[in-house]
Amino acid sequence: MTRPPRPNLTLGTGNGRRALRKLANVRQAHYATPVGAAALLTVLLGAAVLRFHGTPVSSCQSLRPDAWPTAAFVAIVSAFLLGGVTGKLHPGSDASPGIWTHAALTLFAAVVAVVWGYETWAIANPSQNHVDPQPITFYVMCVRSNESDWTLFVFVMAALLVGRWLWHRPRAARLRAGAADRSHGAPKTSEATGVKPREEARGPS
């Protein structure tokens, strides 16, 4: 007895089919960390707006020490280790980064530099009676004093991402992982992605 042929449930062709295939790929393991972090941070962002709307800095004249500093330390270190483990799920790539990746990285570094410059200026010019402007670390401590769990949660997310990025993985091992990933999925060629491999981008030596 032979089975009847399966109906073809694929909708559309071309771009629509590719979009559906990409949407299915979101279930892959290496999406777990960024998608989970983005969902949780979106909720936290809304909650922070509601909680701290209209909260003056003068409410932080006395900062309460954290009730569970050792637990916070363990949580942040554990998140860093977890980030190092989940970073192995990410497929490596031998492609050269594009202009948008460089632009995003430059923007990120610029934001950090501006924030750090403000921090230095604010520490060098302290304001009196706990009014604005204060150093950013003071505001962070103020938020932590009011909502210790939330602040810990943000630091755990940051430690997760830092562990994912900075955990030491030799380049060769990551490239092997990327090659294995591509051999199981769609072929990734420079023609298909528009991204030149490193050696191709560097040109003949």
């Binding site: 909260t55 954290d66 401590m141 990734k188 992605t193």
Partner: protein, 66 residues
């Protein structure tokens, strides 16, 4: 808008932007922001360790402050 609200929102927003950049990079099967940093960390493991230690020291500064 007070500085407390700005900092309470800016921290998660910065991390959300980083997570979004990671998702877009993986979605496009392109070289993501994280991959560039991973390359740098692979080439400079001691500097990466120092950076990670700095982030840890900052967290400790916040949570151990009294």
């Amino acid at each position: 808008m007070s500085g407390v609200l700005i900092v309470a929102v800016a921290g998660p927003m910065l991390l959300l932007a980083v997570a979004a950049a990671e998702i877009v990079g993986a979605w496009r099967r392109n070289v993501a922001l994280g991959a560039v940093i991973e390359d740098w960390a692979s080439d400079h493991p001691f500097l990466a360790a120092l950076l990670a230690a700095f982030v840890g020291a900052f967290a400790a500064h916040i949570f151990w402050h009294s």
